[in-house]
Homo-oligomer: 190 residues x 2
């Protein structure tokens, strides 16, 4: 997705050749028009698949899932990273370790928002080690549903996440695949 | 907004005549089509105003702000409820007390995403005591910008938030105004 790669090149900030910050258009400031383009791209890549529901995780996944959901006309559900005191119904839970933040969080979804027997598309902003995506897939399986595929906005292809997801049998669609960081610049795949 | 009130009546859950849960279409499961309607309504209510930017707070504000931003074609910025270890640039911060969760959180926005001299629309899912909205307005003022108005999806009109915002000089537009809860049912204004 060319416009996305341009935004990463122009507005992304690479720290220590390891962390890419895209706060300027995805993770804190959101460009609605770019997000709509991202949604359209996911819509096209998963076209023809039966999709009942989109699952993501707060906070940065929400905007990605919402614009995709607008085009697919399916409900969007986002996992919460910690249990709210308001939630007392039964929920599915999974533990996700963030290598960036160096902490484990529990992602929680109320059971009633993940019915059994559905085809669920997982969407997230980043793929690195695959922790978040595998956690979301775990929630789908706990619910007795199927993972249709996994859509990622930015993939760090030099890390093991994609292989982990492919080995687990999932179709992975990433809109920007980063081969490496060099001199704090982004080098994309092909 | 009739469709919103119908969803609140049909899918909202009132606990102890005091807490309204709208997880089914706004706070955990999101109906993209309803969110687009909400965005359109905010677009109409603030039409004719010069708006440079929309400010909200994670997580539930994001979807509301995004669909509104899609129609206004302005950037959306969301405050984070705690400082991420990745954030080390200068940020604006404000403390917000949640009467529902009975805890204070710090809402943080990077300064570069709230430039001075702008007209900022504040959007949020709920208005009760006005804590979150006043906090977001505080961030706008710290940035040296103006609050154009405050758009709220669901207002608890029996609490003091609206008056607090009106007394501070803000235009408040709420899409569903709740007069009271009675037998765990919602009674709307007019």
């Amino acid at each position: 997705m060319i416009s996305l790669k341009e935004r990463i090149n122009n507005e992304g900030i690479v720290l220590n050749n390891s962390i890419l910050k895209v706060d300027a258009f995805l993770n804190q400031q959101i460009d609605p028009d770019l997000l709509m383009e991202i949604g359209r791209e996911f819509y096209l890549r998963f076209q023809g698949k039966k999709i009942d529901r989109i699952l993501t995780v707060e906070a940065s996944g929400i905007s990605v899932a919402l614009t995709t959901g607008l085009l697919m006309h399916v409900p969007v559900v986002f996992g919460r990273k910690q249990r709210s005191v308001l939630i007392n119904e039964e929920s599915y839970q999974t533990k996700v370790f963030s290598f960036t933040k160096k902490k484990t969080s529990t992602v929680v979804v109320l059971k009633k928002f993940l019915p059994p027997g559905e085809n669920v598309l997982i969407l997230d902003d980043f793929l690195a080690m695959g922790e978040a995506s595998m956690g979301l897939a775990d929630l789908v399986h706990q619910a007795g549903s199927e993972v249709v595929g996994i859509g990622i906005v930015i993939e760090k292809s030099f890390q093991t996440g994609r292989q982990r997801l492919v080995d687990a049998g999932y179709q992975v669609e990433s809109l920007a695949r980063i081969k490496k960081f060099e001199n704090n610049k982004v080098i994309f795949e092909d």
